[in-house]
């Protein structure tokens, strides 16, 4: 029983410590799908199979990002990356597969992010690939999804993918594409 005060003090310190830990995030970030939460490519004619399909825009993202004003961590912008979800290695059909590079994705400013840099169409891989970067240095105002939006365009089987679908077996192929919004700045 003589140790009870010590234990209580330690418990209080622990509680305070964990609470402070939660509050230590340097920023907030939110990637919202405004529309285009799934992308279907339907190849119903030989012309589409030969020349590919481009869906533009296919998806619109809203970007929300705020700086928490933590000393030593100065938010200056963000980058958007993409990859095949869970490092999936190909587009899986019921019986066949297609290479990931059959799909290409591009991100462009739709609203409020015109000073950002688009990396144009990039082939889908199992590793993170950057699609878009935006810098607002110094960070003058936080971004909200209603005024800062990105359009995502998708290509499948077009000549620049190097993966024409001509000759590929008929099947229903699918892949999940994972997008990551990454804050950038001093201390990040």
């Amino acid at each position: 029983m003589t140790h009870l005060p010590k234990i209580l003090i330690i418990l209080i310190l622990l509680t305070v410590s964990i609470y402070d830990g939660v509050s230590q995030e340097w920023n907030s970030a939110r990637l919202s799908v405004l529309y285009g939460s799934s992308i279907p490519f339907n190849f119903t004619s030989l012309d589409k199979i030969k020349n590919g399909i481009e869906i533009t825009p296919g998806t619109r993202f809203g970007i929300s990002m705020a700086d928490s004003s933590k000393v030593g961590h100065d938010l200056t912008g963000f980058e958007l990356y993409f990859r095949a979800f869970n490092n999936q290695s190909n587009l899986k059909g019921d019986s066949y597969t297609l290479p990931l590079s059959t799909i290409r994705v591009k991100a462009e400013s739709a609203l409020g992010l015109g000073s950002g840099v688009s990396d144009d169409y990039q082939p889908l891989t199992s590793d993170w690939v950057r699609l878009f970067s935006f810098t607002n240095d110094p960070w003058l105002s936080d971004l909200d999804w209603a005024n800062f939006q990105l359009n995502l365009s998708f290509k499948c089987g077009t000549s620049d993918t190097g993966n024409s679908l001509m000759g590929e077996p008929a099947d229903y192929y699918n892949v999940e594409i994972e997008f990551e919004l990454v804050p950038i700045g001093v201390g990040f």
Partner: protein, 233 residues
């Protein structure tokens, strides 16, 4: 008390460990639905008829590659293949012989009729002769009966693989899948021309002219349906 101070210091040191940049992720499912396209279109010459009414024709036969220039087109069949996948074209006569229409007991051997393939498309035949200058990715056709469009083949009973995909068996060769511009062919038919197939002797036409055959064919109108079946590989 020292222990408590130590623990407290360690906990406060640990505060910075929990600091982090916040990222966010989202997942978009993408589906690719490839529907099969497979179509053969006969654009000209869907019905071929040889009419023998001179001794010269009985001696030398009738051919799409000989005789009066204006008549050659009557003995040609043009067709195209549009396929989204690798394909194979099987063909052959529906019966083992031609059948007389006036008297079904009259027959004529199939090998009195033959044809040669002419390639009009962008896809080329693999291996020998005509394809030497073509890029490898276009040498995607194989025709064994005609030695890749170099030889005449006699008409045979169904089924015979007439044209198939080279890429399935030869490394580095593209698929023969393509549209009508890629896969366009002409069959130059002939009858009684006694032409041999030097590479596949078994596919040679009858070596005896109609006028010289041991049992002279009974005058009749001989017919047979030639079937073509396009299938995906």
């Amino acid at each position: 008390m020292r222990k408590i101070n130590f623990v407290a210091i360690m906990l406060f040191c640990g505060l910075t460990v929990f600091g982090q940049a916040v990222k966010d992720r989202n997942v978009i499912p993408v589906a690719v639905n490839l529907n099969q396209v497979l179509r053969m279109t006969v654009t000209n010459g869907g019905n071929i008829e040889f009419v023998f009414n001179t001794i010269d024709q009985y001696k030398n036969g009738i051919s799409a590659e000989a005789g009066p220039a204006g008549s050659q087109g009557f003995y040609k069949t043009d067709f195209t293949v549009s396929s989204s996948t690798r394909w194979e074209l099987n063909y052959g006569a529906e019966q083992a012989t031609f059948i007389g229409t006036d008297n079904p007991a009259n027959t004529l051997a199939l090998d009195n009729v033959g044809f040669k393939i002419v390639n009009n498309g962008l896809k080329m035949f693999n291996a020998t002769g005509v394809v030497a200058a073509a890029p490898a990715n276009l040498q995607s056709l194989i025709s064994v009966p005609t030695d890749n469009a170099l030889e005449v083949t006699a008409l045979q009973a169904y089924p015979v693989a007439l044209i198939t995909d080279a890429g399935s068996t030869v490394a580095g060769i593209g698929a023969n899948a393509g549209d009508a511009a890629d896969n366009s062919f002409t069959l130059n038919w002939r009858c009684g021309t006694i032409e041999a197939n030097a590479v596949v002797p078994g596919n040679s036409m009858n070596s005896v002219a109609l006028i010289d055959q041991a049992t002279s064919p009974t005058p009749d109108r001989y017919v047979v349906n030639v079937l073509f079946e396009l299938s995906a590989l």
